[in-house]
Amino acid sequence: MECSAGEFKHRAAQKLGDVKLQAALRRLQDKFVDGRAAALAELDGFDSLADAAAAVRERALADLDGYLLRFEREAIARGAHVHWAETGADANRIVVEIAAAHGVRTAAKSKSMVSEECGLNHALEQAGIRVTETDLGEYILQLAQEPPSHIVAPVVHKSKEEISELFHEKHHTPRKTDIAELCREAREVLRPAFLGADMGISGANFLVAETGSAVIVTNEGNGRLVTTLPRVHVVITGIEKVVPTLEDLATLLRLLPRSATGQAITNYVSLLTGAKGERDPDGPEQMHVILLDNGRSRLLGDELQSILRCIRCGACMNHCPVYQNVGGHAYGWVYPGPMGSVLTPAYQGLENALDLPHACTMCGACGAVCPVRIPLPDLLRRLRERQTERGLRPWRERLALRLWAWTAKRATLYAVGTRAAAWLLARAGGKDRLLHRLPGAAGWSAGRDMPAPPGRTFRDLYRERGRR
């Protein structure tokens, strides 16, 4: 997927004025934020479980090569093929080659953010392979030709009326208003796509090193269909998704659905290990696992390493006041919200996502809800620092900060300066004691007023109190 994170400010401004989107985003808060809280309240202790989950992910990362090699060995022993891809383009090429080798003309896909990262659908279409997205949300997006706006609920930005209109237009069926009827219609339209597909493509929520299994966590059952019916099954996933053992998987599975949608468990958790055996009556004849790097290995040993613990639950974006107001599309790449604001600059380049680390109020909610204890606010702050270190901030900001630093280091000058500024701003506040315009910060003051300072500095007050 093309990265357009550079347009964040412009897009965010648009999204703030989008009435329909605002209504959709409120729904997300009601269902996911409240659902998560209720589901976690039923657990004995979120804290001990989150500590254990973080330890599981850290252990896997600390010996990532070892666990990947063990995964590879087990998967091959069970009849799977394992491929390594350095970039999204490499991964696409591998999928196209597998398709060509097995005469694949149609593919059915379940939801995979990694495949969005690679732009896989486009590459397959270029190679003449028809791809159908089968996750309901992703299917709707494929019809509308839009990217996902949330990693768990990709079509959260659309209302049922919009979806009804879209189905009517694309399926040539009567308009439906009932959500259950819309789901039934999609089921019926998609069934032939599953039954007729030569290739099934899925992501993997986890890879288990112990058994060589790819684990898929879904509710709809489409993940099971695409990994059972087509002749060839291709898993495309990131190298960081490996976990050591089945017990470690159990620990993470207690937190992933609860953090994502407030479910104790999803309807389906499938462990897929190798291709079908000689006596198996069903299952794919070929299983391929593509391990994608695409910038991940560079984060090992880096201050940002902990972002690789991410299990893609979406809790950080659900709880983020910025995401809650601008939605996922404003972020400009596959991953939105706080985790996206770390991943996009990390994978796409700091200079291509300058606004994202600043799209943050430092409220700390994301770090508090993360089930694998990723210190997201710290990582965002670190990215801000890197922008400064690499001279990527605008010259005005740099000049202003340098001026401030120069003054702050000269105590008397600073005292005089602040006193003058406080006096001036108090006068400028007028009768309502509000500043309607701030020179040099028009964007900030266009939508809100700044309370005028009362006219005296902290130093004045401190001195006065000391005398008393």
Binding site: D63, C183, L225, S270, G283
Partner: protein, 219 residues
């Protein structure tokens, strides 16, 4: 150098250990030990806990004393829901007296158009009301997936407290997982449209779980 070698070399460099240090004993040793993380307190009675959780996930749970009465219980459920009498079942279960209860059970993998699928289960997990199904020669994965109604039959004694116990059982009885291990918790659902939960996405719309008092081998 291949992509594989380059990726592994970058990982090793990032982690600050030598290339192929990944093949160290720590990895295999940890996997060998596979310690458990924090497991929630075990419910005192497994069957009620399983039942409560499965019902929360919109499944129907019936208990019968032995495998013998299973077909009659299934027939009554199908009749009550107007689901007909044609079913497809795991070859594993073909030996139950289906015909005597008026249920036609074709022992084969499921195909498009099959309306009711009857399966067993390797075990069940009380913590979350989950069934664990293993694919295999006589346990095709499609039967629990393609039909609109999924009926699962298993001995109540196969309910274990937590997922970790199910993994131990799998290791003890099978060694390694078969091609597909499916943990199934209720009928399929989606909340993609307006985050409103709707039952019956791409898998079954409804699910009946029949727990038997005695093991199948005892009949």
């Amino acid at each position: 150098m291949s992509a594989r070698q380059r990726i592994l070399a970058r990982i090793a460099a990032g982690l600050g250990h030598g290339a192929e240090a990944g093949a160290n004993g720590a990895v295999d040793g940890y996997i060998e030990r596979h310690p458990r993380g924090p497991v929630p307190r075990r419910a005192p009675d497994l069957v009620p806990r399983f039942r409560e959780q499965a019902e929360r996930l919109s499944s129907t749970v019936l208990e019968v004393p032995a495998p013998g009465p299973v077909p009659a219980a299934v027939a009554a459920y199908l009749a009550a829901h107007g689901l007909g009498t044609e079913t497809v079942c795991w070859p594993d279960l073909a030996g139950l007296p289906w015909a005597a209860s008026g249920v036609r059970a074709a022992a084969r993998p499921a195909r498009a158009g099959d309306m009711v699928g009857i399966t067993g289960a390797f075990c069940a997990i009380a913590e979350t009301g989950t069934l664990m199904l293993l694919s295999g020669e006589d346990t095709p994965a499609t039967v629990s997936l393609l039909p609109e109604t999924h009926v699962a039959v298993l001995p109540a004694a196969r309910i274990v407290p937590a997922m970790e116990d199910a993994w131990d059982l799998l290791r003890a009885e099978r060694g390694v997982p078969p091609r597909a291990v499916n943990l199934v918790s209720g009928p399929s659902r989606t909340a993609d449209i307006e985050q409103t939960v709707t039952l019956g996405a791409h898998g079954p719309y409804r699910m009946l779980i029949v727990l038997t008092g005695e093991d199948f081998d005892d009949v």
